[in-house]
Assembly symmetry: C2
Homo-oligomer: 199 residues x 2
Amino acid sequence: MGKGLPPSGGRLVAEFARLPGLGPRSAQRLAFHVMKAPPERAHALAEALVEVKEKLRPCAECFGFAEEELCPICSDPRRDPRILCAVEEPSAVIPIERTSEFNGRYHVLGGALSPIDGIDPDDLRFDELIRRVERDGVREVIIATNPTMPGEATAHYLADLVGDRARVTRLASGLPVGADLEHTDELTLGRALLGRRDI
Amino acid sequence: MGKGLPPSGGRLVAEFARLPGLGPRSAQRLAFHVMKAPPERAHALAEALVEVKEKLRPCAECFGFAEEELCPICSDPRRDPRILCAVEEPSAVIPIERTSEFNGRYHVLGGALSPIDGIDPDDLRFDELIRRVERDGVREVIIATNPTMPGEATAHYLADLVGDRARVTRLASGLPVGADLEHTDELTLGRALLGRRDI
């Protein structure tokens, strides 16, 4: 990995290469950048790494990342506690927040149902979701699991579970904005047809 | 950058995004990976970052990265001190080592001549190279600067400077013009080494 490098340099290359999506060349490029950069830059990244592991814990309400008992969204009184958006992972919160179209709160399920991978309903935070729905008088649960087999299975399971307590909706499936019809796969196009709306 | 994330998570995204070649999405992906991973993984990367800044310093001979006074290559008695390979940056040593075609030592110039960027001969380690050539009775200086305008200018300048003291060669052409040494595959680079010519 670090042929021609002193041991500490080789270790940094190896540590970068453990991160997902970074091949050996990218890891090497990043390591050399750090080796050449002022120490403050390396220390700032090192501190940020240590800090997230020290400070972050699961939010007691939504199970997203929090520094206090509640995450910034669950502790924000302007966010409507009666609309919940159920996501697989905490990372899914970011793109939804970026849309500025959602003013409710989140519920991180912790994955998606996948019997083949041994992920059963007991492994996901369904009970906690039901408790929130009942306690807060939740009106709507928006299911924002991924449009994949496990994500769809989870959506259907959740719809059955919550359906008699609150409205259950699913993110629309269809053509991405800016897409080209000719290059859209038939599954997506089929969904777009089924989900067509009056204009 | 970290909308929907607690402050420490946002800082980690921001620190990753400062690394070269990582856009905001990649930075976010890496940060979430770290946030979900066991603390040991984050700490190992943090320690490796701190360690390189603590341990690495310029080799007293070649100006590559070293932990002792000399880098592993300059302190290796099996490496021929009478053949020097002049490179722009320490990172160029890695791909050349990977070819296994070179058994001499290196000299890191610290960049390439580029008057437009204000990089003059005084800014590069030419004097130090001449001293090594004279002291060690160097037979050959292989110029392995990048095949770019500044790299070529540096090669010609160096050939004039060293030409009456030792044989001066340049990596064979075959490297695509404008390419970057660090991203050249080892076969091409090995060929270029074997086919080096006098200039």
